[in-house]
């Protein structure tokens, strides 16, 4: 009989309930010797971890040391008090989403997408929009009830907004792959500011996506929703359909 975890003192699971074992790896900018190993232990202890075990260390160069370590997180956190922002949308297949749009909106949704700013990566926006989609999830182009325009990469925020107006989009999908030095934060903040300055922010459903994007971050930046790793075109389509339907209903009330 496996004991149940104590949810008010939640800890990681190694091989025994509540053992709190954690795997870590990092590099220290010092030579690889006993002192480096001791320093690694001290870092783990300073992080509030106990029983540090340095399972591997090696020199990456004269003054860099690679550390792989295990340690115990004893304190635990109160799981019952954790809240997470999550997107409330029905999980639907492509056919179901198309039908939902027919039933609730009675017209095709218009979606414009781009990888904006200096970001040259189209992998994300293509995975969501292209006919073929990604990992077996068809892209938005495949949906009968969704009209799409993919502007590709390195689209300036001004151009993106202008094209969205011209396309008469319902939804603006913006993908950000490069996040080094928080370049995506600046870029999306600027997009939101520009939309607000032109009183266009509420005209569009603004959705952010990318490998380092969370729903919470997207909301913080002033977007309506954010989709990160593990989310596919069907998640985005389901959300768009439900949210546009909700807004239409609210407007009629």
């Amino acid at each position: 009989m496996i004991p149940k975890p104590d949810l008010t003192r939640l800890k990681p699971y190694g091989d025994t309930m509540d053992d709190g074992r954690i795997q870590l790896s990092f590099t220290l900018p010092v030579p690889d010797d006993e002192r480096a190993v001791e320093a690694a232990r001290a870092i783990l202890t300073a992080m509030g971890l106990s029983n540090p075990l340095i399972s591997w260390h090696e020199a990456l160069d004269d003054r860099f040391t690679r550390i792989i370590a295990y340690a115990t997180f004893e304190k635990g956190i109160d799981y019952t008090r954790i809240e997470a922002a999550s997107i409330e949308a029905p999980v639907m297949t492509m056919e179901e989403t198309d039908q939902y749009i027919r039933d609730h909106l009675g017209r095709r949704i218009r979606v414009i997408g781009a990888s904006t700013g200096t970001d040259a990566h189209t992998v994300g926006i293509d995975a969501i929009m292209n006919m073929k989609g990604y990992a077996g999830h068809h892209g938005l182009e495949r949906y009968d009830m969704i009209e799409t325009l993919n502007l590709g990469s390195q689209v300036e925020n001004e151009d993106f907004i202008r094209e969205a107006v011209r396309f008469d989009a319902d939804v603006m999908l913006v993908s950000q792959t490069v996040t080094q030095k928080d370049v995506h934060i600046k870029n999306i903040s600027e997009l939101v500011e520009l939309l607000e300055a032109e009183s266009l922010r509420h005209r569009f459903l603004l959705i952010l996506g990318g490998p380092r994007i969370s729903h919470e971050l997207a909301k913080e930046l002033g977007c309506d929703a954010g989709f990160g790793p593990g989310k596919y075109a069907d998640d985005v389509a389901g959300y768009m359909a439900a949210e546009l339907a909700r807004r239409q209903e609210a407007a009629h009330k």
């Binding site: 160069d61 040259a120 073929k132 990469s153 390195q154 996040t179 490998p211």
Partner: protein, 522 residues
Amino acid sequence: MAELRLDWNKVDKARQAAAAVADNVTEQLELCSTVAVERAICRLFGVDGVDAFDVPLANRLVDHLRTQGVLEAGAAYWLAQGALSTGLAPIKMAEAVAAGSLDLTAHEKHDAFACRLWAKEQAEKAIFRIREGRKTRESLLEKYGERSAPWLYAIVATGNIYEDIIQAQAAARQGADVIAVIRTTGQSLLDYVPYGATTEGFGGTTATQENFRLMRRALDEKGNELGRYIRLCNYCSGLCMPEIAVMGALERLDVMLNDALYGILFRDINMQRTLIDQSFSRMINGAAGIIINTGEDNYLTTSDAYEEAHTVLASQLINEQFALRAGMRKVQMGLGHAFEMDPSLPDSFVFELAQAQMARQIFPDAPLKYMPPTKHMTGNIFQGHVQDTLFNVAGVLTGQQFLLLGMMTEAIHTPHMADRAHAIANADYVKRAMKSLSDEIEYKRGGLLEKRADEVLDLALGFLETIRQDGLFRSLEAGRFAGIKRRPEGGKGMEGVIAKGDHYCNPFIDLFLEEQQDDSQA
């Protein structure tokens, strides 16, 4: 090495179709030059540096001629007129033009023949410096010896050239043979080359001549310590292809990304502009003994790697023909391909192996560039490391030359020092453990691999026949590569294309072609 039985008749036909495609484009574009080609000529003449507003003097000079509507004669012609009248060196003329104290067009009193003579003399000086770089590389390679294939190719991308150097030296120590400095995002769309050492870039570091020089020096130092020659790679592609090729030639880079098709499709650069730029930049790369890398792998990050494999082969064949027309030797053609199939596809590794082996045999002399999985990397670093291992196995078994190391943290961040170390250790292990395996196996006659190779070959041949009929421009317009449509008049940089006038002169074209001729005889 274990080989596939390929239908060489089909390969020959595909190659002929690619040759016709390249001939057609070359013929059309020979009549034009571009602002980037003219700036590259200025740089070869020694015009370096920037004005008070950080505008490169090469840009100031070429803009000076363009705004007066006389660029059709070429920068070399006007510099010759100026030099013959004023006795000033090109850099001094550029400074004077930038200061507003010299108008080059006021000096058109010498005949075109005298101008060409001056230009040729000056050009020979530039060639001398490029030749010196090549000789230095050759003597270092002789001293240390060449490492066996595949060469382990690692990237650095911190944005800060000094941080890049720390990471590059560490990677070299860990076993990397080639260091590529990724460029800052968006640089390919700049119509000038930034100047000086730089410490702020996004997703990479600005390509500047000073950054090239700093990294070259750092790798030479580390190479000396390790007793190995560490190759340095950077990027020509974009709006400044020939200028960056000049910088690479002067600072002894060894490998440069050089692919107009990539710029057209993935950066929306005007096709006429970049194909003209490509031609001259490949002559420069060729004369400098630089290996080019082409970007076919990118098709597979956008399109499906199984369904679109033939577009990669077709593009490799076209790229080979363009490179031949720029005088390059086959040993300088690092044609690109990739290991990008969906891991959930049954037999995906078998198909990858077939395609990698097929490329190896169709381009036996080319130092192929093999790209690791990126599209199907998820953030699950443990799974990612396994995918990279399979990629390494395919690369080693099929004798690829450049093994671009896959990072288990792909899709998370630009590589940490440790990510690179794990990637190198992985590839090193596979390379050592499977050293002789390909000599010990045979591929089954008519088996899955041969069938797959034949299928890709068939599709590539059909694809190339269609491109030959329609021409490359119409094919790009129809979205035949990576599903991306580009118009011949569209994209960035079209305004920088200029029709050559009667007096047009580019003294380097003949000299570079001769240089490569000498080289291939040596």
